[in-house]
Symmetry: C2
Subunit: 237 residues, 2 copies
Amino acid sequence: MTVTPPVGDPAFEDLTARARIRDVALRLFAERGIEGATIRDIAKEAGVSAGLIRHHFGSKEGLREACDTHMLDRMMRIKEDAVLRGGMGDAGLFMSVHPTVLLGYRYFARAMVDGSPAAETTFDHMVDLGEEWLTAHGQVDTSDPRAYAAVLVAMQAGLLMMHDHVSRALGADVFTPEGSLRMIRAMVDFYSHALLSPELAAQAQAVLGQLGDQQPPTAAEPGSAGEGADDDRRDPH
Amino acid sequence: MTVTPPVGDPAFEDLTARARIRDVALRLFAERGIEGATIRDIAKEAGVSAGLIRHHFGSKEGLREACDTHMLDRMMRIKEDAVLRGGMGDAGLFMSVHPTVLLGYRYFARAMVDGSPAAETTFDHMVDLGEEWLTAHGQVDTSDPRAYAAVLVAMQAGLLMMHDHVSRALGADVFTPEGSLRMIRAMVDFYSHALLSPELAAQAQAVLGQLGDQQPPTAAEPGSAGEGADDDRRDPH
DNA sequence: GCGGGGACTATACAAGCGTATAGATTGCTG
DNA sequence: CAGCAATCTATACGCTTGTATAGTCCCCGC
């Protein structure tokens, strides 16, 4: 489950306690979520007392904000570095297997589920990037590039959240080289071919057109299907 | 944020307390996660005492299992109903806007993040279905239909987890008719066209081929990019 | 040498959690 | 009507959580 084993890495003990706490927090927040990772757990894995976390970061929220800004900074620098030394050709693919970037994606994907300002910023930024890319390489004919980009980014982030289920379905951990290769291959397949045939796509478009005119079913419509067979309802008396 | 307002729906008060608790729990679990929804919150919204939940379900884990099996049963019955009365043509599209199915998807997507046996079963089942569909309608040429299906299902479920970020990017709640229509339109666009051009796809395939031969970068390789500029490292003394 | 301040620990505290238990209420049945 | 079982509430217990505080250690400038 762990991506970067904290103890045992000789560079880890060389870090200051503050950096060690932050790195452990980044990993545990990504793995267990904000609420799931306790101050005491982080302190234990970082090899410090719980009080020291408060001393350095003020509160758990402060630690989380420090994680946010630090990881945001790291990923921005990696991204700038990548676009500087070469086009986004295979750089994007390389980045997806870069351990730091992978941790960053996992961290922010988790933060998006838990809710955090930095995660929102990251999401919006990636949607902006995707929208620009779509309009620049205008090969995808969509009438709504922003919605398209939003769906794309959300799916990508969501895929990371489901990693252990994908691993189970594949029979191989997607964070090992073999598993990740197999998953990325499937992703490339997914991105390079249309899933829906032109007939199915036209059919879906037609249904969407009808749905756009009439009123779609709202949430306040229970009992339309699959209900009424279990004894939920109280007997009238 | 709420999909089905509990109080105000005249059918809601007619339910037994047990069913009321279960329905509220399903919604709160889907919205806030298992840990995020407390027994007391559920009791409050269901209009009962916290002790009654224990009386009916034994424990929080019991309540969760009851939610799992109940929602599993509901969705299976809806699915059977759908395939019985017509092909899966636009039924799949209709189902995606069906309020009960939408709640079910949200519930299980959340349960997949939190980890639950029923969520695993649901995920695996959907992967199986997707794989069958892919091999039956063999229009997508992938060498690994299982991985393809797993990625597809994971992305779909992950998209639901990111709904408020998609809503923010779109400027409209995706659970309102307008927002959902716009998102589903983008999804149909996404599914009916290839995102990557043949050139980019070939390029990606080539990189993947190289990556398959050599050893990909492992997790234990820090400092490759974007590090070393901040004063993390302790001064030697 | 000697204050002084940052790094760090140990301990305690209030709040919220799931859970347990005792008792009140209700409705059915003999 | 008595009795019993199911339903439901009120209250408390133990645990974990984030947080607060007091105190120790150690390096560094004067």
